[in-house]
Amino acid sequence: MIDDPRVVALAAACVAFAIYLCLIGVGLRLTRQRYGVSLLIGCAVLVYAATASWAQANVVIAQWHFAAFYGLGVAATVFTYGAALKALSLRMLLVMAAAPDRSAAVTRLSNDVIRASFQDRIALLEERQLIRRESAGYVLTEAGRRAASRISRVQDALNMGLGGLYWD
């Protein structure tokens, strides 16, 4: 029997995190990645509330420790989900890993990862009606102009300038 409430908290956080991973695995597949981050956060709150109330009623648990350990698991999951979904560097890593000699030409990475990702994002922006295609290229719709203006305001408020590149 574990007596230390902090050890109980660590064990409960590990169990809750495992349940969380199973739940989001099912949820993301069922919803086909729609509402991804909302689902991740919603499931996190649900599992936290269920585990914390069960633990409160049945064992002596250090709740702050439980929140800290479980919170780390959720933060790492949300971070990794964002990276797996969008990070261009991870896409490059997987493209090279799938190649027989575990390498790729710069031109191939440029076409298969960067250009393809740009096209994916253009499709996404078109689907959300933030841009539209004209004969000369893409232009913002009214909704796109409002969204770009909001993002610009945040960037200006934080003195960021136009971002986009890490190593500039």
Partner: protein
């Protein structure tokens, strides 16, 4: 649940909250710290140092149980990840910055011109090199002329971990 956290966790929460506050404050700080990446590193480092200083300065923390320290560190790692997520969206988010790039253009842009403008007037290869920089920095890959090679060992481990996450998330892996 006690309303007040144990001192080690409490100080970690304070230090974690200091990270986004520092990010905002440094917007008007010294010029050399204004770069988005540098600002993030300084803010995170400040949070961790603040935790260390508070732990030394406040009574009753130094002799805390190892699991108290572990919980405090968990709070700060989580704060670092959450801060990075929030910060990287406007600073490095491709879709958001594509939108802003298009808004600043005075004419319609095709994909190539859009990518050129996104990379600050350079080319789509500049974006490739920027993202490749992560793999090189973390010693997962090396560039040899026009070919990029994965480094054995570290890259295999990273790919294995990544595949597990892709499986958990139910995401299709790029090929």
């Amino acid at each position: 649940m006690s309303l007040l956290p144990p001192p080690v966790i409490g100080t970690a929460i304070v230090a974690g909250l200091a990270m986004p506050i520092m990010l905002v404050l440094l917007s008007w700080g010294p010029q050399r710290w204004r770069h988005s990446g540098r600002r993030f590193k300084v803010s995170v480092l400040t949070g961790w140092i603040l935790w260390g200083v508070l732990a030394v300065a406040l009574p009753g923390i130094a002799g805390a149980h190892p699991l108290d320290w572990l919980a405090g560190a968990a709070v700060l790692v989580a704060a670092t990840l959450v801060t990075f997520n929030a910060w990287s969206l406007p600073a490095y988010g491709v879709t958001l910055n594509m939108l802003v790039t298009l808004a600043r253009a005075d004419r319609p842009l095709d994909l190539e011109t859009w990518a050129d403008r996104y990379s600050g007037g350079r080319s789509i290869d500049r974006i490739l090199l920027d993202r490749l920089g992560h793999l090189v920095f973390f010693k997962l890959a090396r560039r040899d002329g026009d070919v990029v090679h994965l480094l054995p060992g570290s890259s295999r481990f990273a790919v294995a971990i990544l595949k597990i996450w892709y499986f958990i998330f139910g995401l299709a892996r790029p090929r």
